[in-house]
Symmetry: C2
Subunit: 307 residues, 2 copies
């Protein structure tokens, strides 16, 4: 049993357009780097090596509350010292809080001799999501820990299904505007028409079938959201134009990542994904909003212990 380790904890895309609150996918980039040391006394020390000025009080830190819950489970016999180097900007909509929470859970488990199951790690890490957004959701946490694409069939009881992942390229743009997850949740209508719900579950079934049957075109045409996207996309300038133009550039489909503002598009070929990136940049250059882009692939491993 070593007493320190380093992990890479990846960005994730929740919802995958039509799968609101039930689907999530891990990316290779960007990722956070976290170093965790096991202490023999019950305290949590957090140090930031980035410029995001996140709280270092463990009760107010996403990774901190996860480590506290693990410390408590261990009968308060141990503690942790954490050094955070976040590269996933908080509020980007690509699972920044999930990366902190999942990375802390996996690193702690590694130092404790892998005594917890993946299922338990997801449960621990959900405490971080609860702190970040007020809701214990697993659609970023689960793919962050397990890699690939996770289906959260049910939260109570927690039922996670790993979906076999085809080799696709992902282009992500993070326009530098702020959308609070809580606000993005609050503006959703709490009632939906049965007609729209049926259309949505046809698409979800199509997406899952497309992923498992490795049918990129079916994946693309199933990435249609008639319930959440029409409301949330209003908060993201240039959204409609970007979606139309990236599809013209060959993207299969895509949409808002999590609650935004990041937008992702899937492509079959790397060259297409790079072309999609150019189109995304053009749209936001014209609007005059700063951005960050990534061209990456689906991460099948999830949080990785690298040292």
């Amino acid at each position: 049993m070593t007493n320190s380790c380093k992990v890479h904890s990846p960005a994730t895309i929740a919802n995958l357009v039509c799968g609101f609150d039930i689907l999530g996918m891990a990316l290779h980039e960007p990722f956070d780097i976290m170093e965790l040391v096991l202490l023999d006394e019950p305290k949590i020390i957090i140090r930031n090596k980035d410029n995001f000025n996140l709280p270092t009080d463990p009760e107010k830190n996403v990774a901190g509350v996860v480590l506290l819950s693990i410390m408590e489970r261990m009968g308060n016999r141990i503690g942790f010292e954490l050094e955070m180097e976040k590269h996933i900007k908080p509020g980007s909509g690509i699972g920044s809080s999930a990366a902190s929470a999942a990375g802390a859970a996996v690193a702690a488990n590694h130092l404790l001799g892998n005594i917890f199951s993946d299922h338990e790690l997801v449960q621990f890490a959900m405490n971080g999501e609860k702190l970040a957004s007020g809701v214990k959701h697993a659609d970023n946490i689960s793919p962050c820990i397990l890699g690939g694409i996770s289906l959260i069939r049910s939260i109570h009881p927690l039922d996670i299904v790993s979906i076999t992942v085809p080799d696709l390229f992902v282009t992500v743009i993070h326009p530098q505007i702020e959308i609070k997850t809580s606000y993005a949740r609050q503006i959703l209508r709490q009632q939906v028409s049965l007609k729209d719900a049926i259309r949505q579950w046809g698409n979800i079934a199509g997406l899952v079938a497309g992923l498992l049957q490795n049918d990129p075109d079916l994946i693309g045409r199933s990435m249609e959201d008639v319930i959440i996207e029409p409301v949330r996309s209003i908060l993201i300038p240039g959204f409609d134009e970007l979606k139309i133009k990236t599809k013209e550039a060959g993207a299969l489909g895509g949409g808002i990542s999590g609650s935004g503002p990041s937008i992702f598009m899937l492509s079959k070929e790397k060259q297409t994904a790079i072309g999609v990136e150019s189109v995304m940049k053009e749209v936001y250059d014209k609007i005059g909003i700063d951005y960050r882009t990534y061209v990456t692939t689906i991460n099948k491993k999830g949080v990785e212990v690298i040292a």
Copy 2:
């Protein structure tokens, strides 16, 4: 090109519990027997060899309107003579009208030298569903023609996805009570809560994943319907008791077939499916409602030309 043929057109189970209006599955039993003769003049003659007293006026007959639409597409140069021997009782909820419509379409296509695609056959056959229920739905028609399980991702445009089918046993009970499809549709709430919709699409995603990953337990626990079943099951005496007791007897899961009154349950083993049948019989013997039961398997072929 022969000028007469005989087909077996199978019963189908629409919805598969959580997949309202988007999923359907073909069965080996029961099935209708239809004999079709190609005529060289534009007329449709229908004869019934069963005791259901269905209309023989082609405009008022489910198979008749399908044959009329094909006759019209052929420029009214040909006609058909149909002999119907229905074994799937109209109003049973196991796709009686779909069997008539799909069987007529496939038989006609066979006599015409298979000039129409499966997609076109589904379109022709949907005219029969329109006559039967007022709605052009494909969730019985499509599996009846294609076999196995069909996902109707979208009706406009028609997008049908065949889902690979695991080897499972199906027990069906048809309590001899009448539920009009139109009434079963009318009593549904037209608005659903976002919370219920999310739970439902988690189950649909789980069901599709379970089918494609051949995970019977996932199939079973995904067969939960929080939107349609709570309303429609009120129309079926004994429904809740039957569901609980058949699960105790080892069934994976199941529920209302189409809009009812038939109920189906899936099992991994034939012996379990037979035990489930006994339990179903006990429930309805106690209530004192007549019934018909079937223990069968998933039909991977759909309508079959047998002569």
